[in-house]
Every structure is written in C-alpha cells, then in structure tokens.
C-alpha cells in the first residue's frame, strides 16, 4: 500500500493542467461536450447568481410574478443588512477564528505524533477521531444544552468556540497527518544528524514544509465553523447568535422579505465563496488526501 501511495501521489497532479489528448476537445463531438459543460456549470451557478441579483432589488421586484430580470439596482438592502448584522458578524468571527486557531494548535502536535513518530495503535487513535465525526450531533445536544445551562454558559460565544473546535478537530488531524506523511524521511534524518531537537525540527524544518497543507486544513475548518447552524440555533439567543441565525431573522411572517434575505445570504456567504475560489486547489488537495493515504 505504501509504495502505491507514493507513486500515485495526487499532490503534484491536482491542479496540474491536463496534458492535451489528441482526440478530445476538437471536432463536433468535443464542441458539444464543451457546450454541455458550460450549460451545466451555468445551471449550477444560476441560483447563486439569482440570489446576488435579488440582493440589489427592492422587495416588490424581488417577489414579482413573472420574475424581474431588468431593474435599477439599489443598495438599500445591503445597507440595511450591514447596519443590522454587527453583533452577529462579531460573534461569527470569534467563533470561527478562535476555534480554527485552537484546532490547529491541537491538531498539529497530534497529527505529528501519529505520522512522524507513530505511537502504538496509531490506527486505533485515528479511528477514534474519525468515529467522533460519525457521532450524530443530535445525540449529544441535550446533555450539552443541560450542562451548558448548569454552567451558565448558554448564549455564550465561548461555548460555540469549544464545540466548533471539537467539530473540526477530527478532520484536521486526519488531513494534517496525510500532509506530515508526505515529508521525505531524509529531511528528518538530516535534521536529526545536525542535532536539531524536537521543537527546533518542528518549527524550522517541518512547519514550512506543511504550510500549504496547514492552510488547506484551516480553510476547511473555517468553512464548516462559519456555516454551522445547529449548535448556534439551539445554544444561543440574543447575545451570542451568529451570522446564520441573522439570515433566518430577516424572514418575517408579514410583509415581503426576499430582497433583504438575499442581501443577508449574499454577504454571509461571500467570505467563504471568495476564500474557496482563491484556494480551489488547496481545497481539492486537502479533501482528496484521505483517498490516498
């Protein structure tokens, strides 16, 4: 398995432009396939584009039948959302930022121990980490709610920080371990022969080498924490509510709300969309690591 894993290493392959193959991409058949690709791509993207358009409409245009395709854009909804979302945004930034930082601080030593200096029963430990990911959140929400209530930490942003850290830690350990395993043994040998200690090796030899992997891991943790809704819904009220809660709060039972809702959805999704677009290759690499090792 090991040798196969090394030869079929995707890290170098992902994102590499495919070598042009002669009988593809040309001719009528190739043209049709390219056209099909674009139709499907635009189809998948369309709901997002429509949401972005609706964010710049007024409420009557947003909920018109037939739909309004051409209109004079307004910034009213965006302004209102920016004005109302301050607390929610602050909470989301704390919950996402601090939990991701904690995940990295805990995952780097753990995955180092599992990859480079394997402990006995490494696979058991890994299995434990991944099995917590399979534990349905609903199965632990009641005790967490009751315990948080007794500790007086309901509606407290630090409760979400702890839970988001636990939510992302398994996947981070799993991914980081794969990245550490990619480091060639000669590098460690050389560091050890030069008399570098553990901390020194970790800091000046290993960290620079896994930095891209670390970035990919952090990005995935940020995405999951930023988008998390279930804990936020059940464990927060007014003080610690996060951005997903803000989106649902723009829905009202009376009156029209679609333009406001779209503006909130657009602004809430924008950070992750941009980060994901910029870091596509790292994202793919991080996610596909587990398929190889």
């Amino acid at each position: 398995m090991t040798t196969a894993a090394h030869s079929a290493n995707p890290a170098t392959a992902v994102g590499r432009p495919a070598t042009p193959r002669k009988d593809k991409g040309t001719g009528v058949g190739g043209g049709l396939l390219t056209a099909l690709t674009w139709v499907v791509a635009i189809g998948f993207f369309f709901p997002v584009a429509w949401m972005a358009m609706t964010a710049f409409k007024n409420e009557n245009q947003a909920a018109s039948d037939p739909p309004t395709w051409f209109f004079a854009p307004t910034l009213d909804q965006i302004r209102a959302v920016v004005a109302d979302s301050g607390t929610f945004l602050g909470n989301s930034v704390i919950a996402t930022g601090v939990s991701t930082l904690l995940v990295i601080l805990l995952a780097v030593p753990a995955s180092y121990a599992l990859a480079i200096r394997p402990v006995r029963k490494t696979s058991d430990v890994l299995f434990f980490f991944m099995s917590t990911k399979m534990l349905p959140v609903v199965a632990v929400i009641m005790p967490i709610y009751v315990i948080a209530g007794r500790l007086h930490v309901l509606d407290n942003i630090w409760t979400l920080v702890v839970l988001y850290t636990a939510m992302n830690l398994p996947i981070a350990v799993w991914m980081m371990r794969s990245f550490f395993q990619e480091i060639p043994g000669e590098v460690l040998e050389a560091a050890s022969m030069d008399g570098a200690g553990l901390m020194r090796t970790l800091r000046s030899v290993l960290m620079p080498m896994v930095a891209p992997g670390l970035a990919a891991t952090a990005l995935i943790c940020v995405i999951f924490a930023w988008n998390e809704f279930f804990f936020a819904l059940n464990l927060t009220a007014s003080r610690a509510a996060t951005v997903p809660i803000f989106i649902t709060s723009t829905m009202t039972s009376e009156g029209l709300f679609l333009a406001r809702l779209s503006a909130a959805s657009l602004l809430a999704s924008l950070p992750v969309i941009i980060a994901g677009w910029v870091a596509q290759k790292q994202l793919v690499r991080g996610l596909s690591m587990g398929a190889i090792k």
Partner: protein, 312 residues
C-alpha cells in the same frame, strides 16, 4: 509511511541501546503531543454521549415537574412504537441514499467533462464548486423561497413557460424538494474528489491503452474506474456522514412538514427535545441513531478496507 518511519527509527537507532526507563520515557515523548487533542475530544464528545445514555433511561419531560425518574428501557419501547419515529428513520435513509447516489453520479459526469481541456475550464470549475461554498442556511433559503416558492418561484415560472401548472413544491413534494437542495449543494464536493482522482491517473497508462486500440468506453471501465474507486468511496463515505445529519435544509425548507412527512431523525429529535421538551425520549432516539450509524459505518468501512485489500 512505513519507509519514513523506518528511516526515522534507523536514524535514532544509531544511539546506544537504551534501558527500560528510557524506552518508557521515549514512549511518553511520542504520545505526549497527541494527548491534548485526545483528552479534549474525549471530554467534549464522549462525556455528553454517556450522559445521553443516562438520560435515555429516564422519564424526563421539562414540562412535567413530577418527571425525572428512572424507567429503564421504557423510552426505547415507546420510540419503536412511535410511527413518526419510524417514518423519520425511513426519511433519513431515503434522503441520505438518494442524495449521495445522485450527487455522486452527476459529480462523476461533471468531473469527466471538466477533465477535458477546453478554454475557460477554470471558470467553469469555479462556477460549479460555488454551491458547495454557499452557507447551507443561505442555500436552503434560495431553494425554499427564490426557486420553489409557489407564487413567485423561478421553477414554477420556468415550467409555466412550457404550459405546466404551478406546483407547491415544498408542500406537495417536501422530500424531493429537500433532496434537490442537498444534491445541488453536494454535487460539487463529489465532482472535486472525482476530478482529483482523474487527474492523478498516470497518463502513460492511458496512452498505452490508446495505442493498444482500446476505445474510450473500454479505457474508462478497465482503467479509469478502478483508479477512481478510492475517491468515489471516500466521497460516498464523507458525503453520507454529513448528509445523514442534515438539519438546516429540513428546518428551513419544510420544517419537517407537512405534518411530519419530511422530518428526518435529526429534525425529529430536535423537535422532541426543544419543542416537546421530552429529554428522555429524545435521548433514546439519539442513542438509537448512534447505534445505527455505528453499524452502517462499520459496514461501510469494512467494505472499503476489503476493496483496499483486493487492490493491493
């Protein structure tokens, strides 16, 4: 991995033979970096689960002040007699299976389309991954309101153009509506994984197959598909882990309705716990879900490991 470890060990083995105490100290040095993460996970995930098991054997409804007494397995008997629970379990299976399978099939198709060189390929890929990056709450709202709303939704407008009467999607076909939103969100994930697999294919093998006169179909079935197998399995496993816990789409698109027609287990447990305040029964359902997940996951993992063994 083994080679790396062996080399590392060899590097250390050049020192003089250590005694037992040193071996033990070394074992602890190896283990130490692992402990903070391990202890944190045990406290935050395992302790609440043990408490859930304890709750599941109590009759505890926050609305009834006399409650909170030990009832043994009575809650388990009650939930299996509860037809809504069985319906929610069925919906969980239905939603997870259909979403993962459909998303994977479309994902494979899209990955194959994107593996061809054409101008603007990067842009097409960027457009295609966007649904995966959208906040699920926002994605659910786009589908529930902008797309599937009975009066001003775009889907009804589009089918109206070809003369089909408007449909109240989330009331008439609630499970289908949820699956549509989920497939939209998860297809890009499957596509990315399969694409990574396609691009990791050794090109010389493909060329050799072409030289030998193997057609596209033959090459796909006997070379590409076996190569993609691990990527597909990983996608199905990770996808299933997340989709089985689907809550956002159901809460926001149908609220489990009409009635309880589209509730899955996470949503029904949420209802019993936070709207019905029935801690005991909700906990018992949680335990059942965990046991079912363990059975399915073990089965899935074993399947995957078996395919590894066959391959090697």
């Amino acid at each position: 991995m083994t080679t790396l470890v062996e080399r590392h060990n060899a590097a250390q083995g050049r020192r003089s033979e250590p005694d037992v105490a040193a071996v033990r100290a070394e074992a602890w040095r190896r283990r130490a970096p692992l402990l903070p993460a391990l202890i944190f996970m045990v406290i935050v995930t395992q302790v609440p689960f043990l408490v859930t098991i304890w709750y599941s054997m109590r009759s505890w409804n926050l609305l009834r002040p006399d409650g909170d007494r030990f009832v043994g397995l009575q809650n388990y008997v009650d939930i299996f007699a509860d037809s809504v629970f069985r319906g929610a379990a069925l919906n969980s299976v239905l939603i997870t299976l259909s979403c993962v399978l459909v998303a994977m099939l479309i994902g494979i198709g899209l990955a194959l389309l994107l593996d061809r060189p054409f101008r603007g390929r990067g842009v097409a890929r960027t457009l295609l991954i966007t649904p995966f990056l959208i906040m699920p709450v926002a994605g659910s709202m786009i589908w529930a309101v902008s797309m599937l709303n009975p009066t001003y939704g775009l889907v009804n407008w589009a089918i109206g153009l070809v003369g089909i009467d408007p449909v109240d999607w989330t009331s008439t076909y609630p499970v289908l509506s949820i699956v549509i939103a989920l497939v939209w969100q998860w297809t890009p994930f499957m596509m990315l994984l399969v694409l990574a697999g396609l691009q990791a294919q050794p090109k010389d093998v493909l060329e050799a197959a072409q030289v030998d006169g193997a057609g596209w179909g033959r090459t796909f079935v006997s070379i590409t598909l076996p190569q993609l197998r691990r990527y597909i399995e990983l996608g199905v496993l990770l996808g299933a882990i997340y989709v089985v816990n689907t809550f956002d789409q159901i809460y926001l698109m149908t609220a489990g309705g009409p009635g309880t027609a589209s509730a899955n287990l996470p949503f029904y447990i949420y209802q019993r716990a936070f709207l019905g305040f029935d801690i005991g029964q909700a906990a018992a359902m949680g335990v059942v879900v965990v046991i079912a997940t363990i059975i399915v996951a073990t089965f899935a993992l074993r399947l995957i490991f078996r395919s590894f063994e066959q391959k090697d």
